[in-house]
């Protein structure tokens, strides 16, 4: 009986320790991937900076030509919500928080009378929506590990086409923003229409002002420029989400490894007690047996 308990505990300790080896390895992998993801973000920054500079100059030159990106004609079109999750799990609350926020936002938009169209990025979104029997307009997988600009174009291309003709009136992105390795925030970004605030905060950063010559003309440039700007914003969000995912995974795996340590310690304590118990029992048995032998042999010796 006692030996059986020991065996079980030994087996448990072994399994906890092998699980810990895996979580520890995953923690280290995530940590090294964060660095790569951060350098991808850094590589994308010059592009975003140069592009925003052009946008800023265009906005500053004179009143903006009429365009759907800053003043949409139709305010009652479909609202698109893009949820950025991961393809793989084991990253704590990373995915569930995005999906919860998506449902809340979708509910709010629906109650205001608009139609919602969901776009899922990442397998976790796909599984969740399927399980909840929520209809998804577009599902894109295999993006979040190393997002590329082509993938951003793939996700947003047809949405932008429909936005430009007024079929879609708003686009939200729900994703994790990367602040630092320790801090990532879940944010709902209003991708479209481009808010005046977004353009103004960008323009206050610089004091230069020129009379730009536009080729072919401002009216022609404004739409492709805002289109590319929107793509660049989504691409930046994808990169930040990917970096955040690794940070979440690293933290989740770190705490899993710590839990494994704790569990192994607890089992070892139980194991020691069980072993001590069985030794005590054995000693008692031996002593008892010896006593019994003594009392059994004594009468015979007298007899």
């Amino acid at each position: 009986m006692a030996g059986g308990q020991e065996r079980t505990l030994r087996r448990k300790i072994k399994s906890v320790q092998s699980t810990k080896k895996i979580t520890k390895a995953m923690e280290l992998i995530a940590a090294s991937r964060i660095q790569k993801a951060i350098s991808r973000m850094a590589n994308a920054r010059p592009y975003y900076r140069e592009l925003s500079e052009i946008v800023r100059d265009l906005v500053k030159a004179a009143a903006l030509p009429k365009n759907p990106y800053t003043d949409p004609e139709n305010n009652e079109g479909t609202v698109v919500v893009i949820s950025i999750t991961s393809d793989r799990g084991l990253c704590g609350i990373y995915n569930s928080s995005v999906l919860r926020a998506t449902e809340r936002l979708a509910e709010r938009v629906r109650s205001s009378g608009s139609t919602v169209e969901l776009v899922g990025v990442g397998k976790k979104a796909q599984n969740y929506f399927k399980f909840q029997e929520i209809e998804v307009a577009t599902q894109v997988n295999g993006v979040t590990e190393t997002p590329t600009y082509v993938q951003a174009m793939y996700i947003l291309g047809s949405i932008l086409d429909r936005y430009e003709i007024g079929e879609i009136s708003k686009v939200y992105v729900i994703s994790h923003r990367f602040v630092s390795i320790g801090v990532q925030n879940l944010e709902t970004t209003e991708l479209l229409p481009i808010s005046k605030g977004q353009l103004e905060t960008d323009s206050t950063k610089s004091s230069t002002s020129f009379d730009f010559e536009f080729e072919p003309s401002r009216d022609v440039i404004v739409v492709p420029l805002f289109r590319q700007f929107t793509l660049a914003r989504l691409f930046a969000l994808l990169l930040e989400a990917s970096t955040s995912e690794y940070a979440y995974r690293q933290r989740a795996m770190k705490s899993a490894s710590e839990n494994a340590d704790e569990l192994a310690r607890k089992y070892r304590r139980l194991l020691n007690r069980a072993r001590q118990d069985s030794i005590t029992t054995e000693i008692m048995e031996i002593v008892g047996g010896a006593e019994a032998l003594k009392t059994e042999t004594d009468p015979r010796a007298e007899g």
Partner: protein, 131 residues
């Protein structure tokens, strides 16, 4: 000749960044060359080959898939969705791009097909790729 800072950026990396003496690219109506002290300018860039004259007078070529060019503060920047220096172009990738373009044209997606075909042609000319 006076030099000025020039940068060619794509979303994933800075393709080229240095002080140069001139850069020529196709914008809207035709080719346009920027030299030091160009007046403030913002324009659309077609899918084309960009000719960069370096400070030492040597020439570097790059393929650009459309985008925008901005000249201001004696600095020129080209912002594009994808770009490669001529020396980075790989024949295999370009031929694959061309077959994708042909496929798209066959499937009736003219916009995508033409775009890919133009990108492939610019690269084939730059890197001297034949079949």
């Amino acid at each position: 000749m006076a030099n000025f800072p020039f940068v060619l950026v794509s979303p994933e990396r800075v393709v080229f960044e240095d002080d140069i003496s001139a850069v020529t690219l196709r914008s809207g109506a035709g080719d346009i060359t920027f030299m030091a002290g160009h007046s403030p300018f913002i324009g659309l860039v077609e899918t084309c080959a960009v000719r960069i004259v370096l400070a030492d007078g040597s020439v570097s070529m790059a393929a650009v898939d459309g985008g925008f060019v901005r000249a201001g503060m004696n600095k020129v920047s080209v912002v594009t969705s994808s770009a490669e220096l001529a020396t980075e172009i790989e024949a295999e990738t370009v031929l694959h791009m061309r077959s994708q373009a042909e496929q798209a044209l066959q499937d009736g997606d003219e916009e995508l097909g033409n775009r890919l075909m133009r990108s492939a042609k610019v690269r084939m000319e730059l890197a001297d790729i034949t079949e």
